[in-house]
Amino acid sequence: MLSLKKLPNQRPGETVELFLRRHWIDLVKIFLLDLGLCLVPIALYVSGFWPGSSGLNGSVFWDTVASLGLSGYLMFILVITMTELTDYWLDTWIVTSERIINIEQHGLFKRTVSELPLDQVQDVTSETHGFLETFLTYGDVYIQSAGERQRFQFKNIDNQDAVKEKIIGLVQQCKAR
């Protein structure tokens, strides 16, 4: 497991200043997806397409298929939820007094971990797009390094402006040393 007290390649005197995850709105989206998936069998039953609700009444075979199918479908929803939650939980951004660590989980079997020393940070930008982002104060922070390296993106983080200011302050302190 990752420990904030013992980061990989930890430097002497390095302290963790920010530990960030995506905004809780992403969890709401996951659960809304679950709700939608749960409503599908209900909609099928109400509309008469569910075995046992019409036409196939009294058929032991189709009742059994429907029951097992529903159980299998619940398992499918569970697997989707677990995978999305794991993706959310493992997407983290750590800003220390020395560097920025960008950890992104893409599904289950793809993971990207990048580090950027603070003294190589050239530009920090925060962006807010849309109604929800404005009122729930979350958005993206982009960190551009010197050179051709692709910029880091902190996706859907809470209080993106405050995070931007904090990082700029840390960069200035680092460069002043």
Binding site: M1, F61, L68, G72, M75, T81, M82, L108, R111
Partner: protein, 82 residues
């Protein structure tokens, strides 16, 4: 062509096995890459509980069935007038 209803449990068992495998993969990733602490452990416990709950619901459904019952074409195509 007649067969016992219990044959339908085979594909269902495959689905449960795949679900168990995905549960293992998720737990593995959280254990290896998750942040040390109670929240990660709670999430792992929630995954296991969710899976067990799913299994419990399934078993309740399975216990209600008469799996030794034999079905044939007339049961499968009961919506067609013979």
């Amino acid at each position: 062509m007649e067969f016992p209803l219990s044959v339908l449990l085979l594909p269902y068992a495959l689905v449960v096995a795949l679900g168990g495998l995905m549960l293992f993969f998720n737990l593995y990733h959280l254990a290896k890459f998750g942040l040390e602490g109670g929240k990660t452990l709670s999430l792992m416990c929630a995954y296991v509980l969710g899976f067990l709950l799913c299994l419990a619901v399934s078993f309740e459904v399975i216990l209600l069935g008469d799996w030794s019952r034999v079905v044939g074409p007339s049961d499968i195509f009961s919506f067609v007038a013979f």
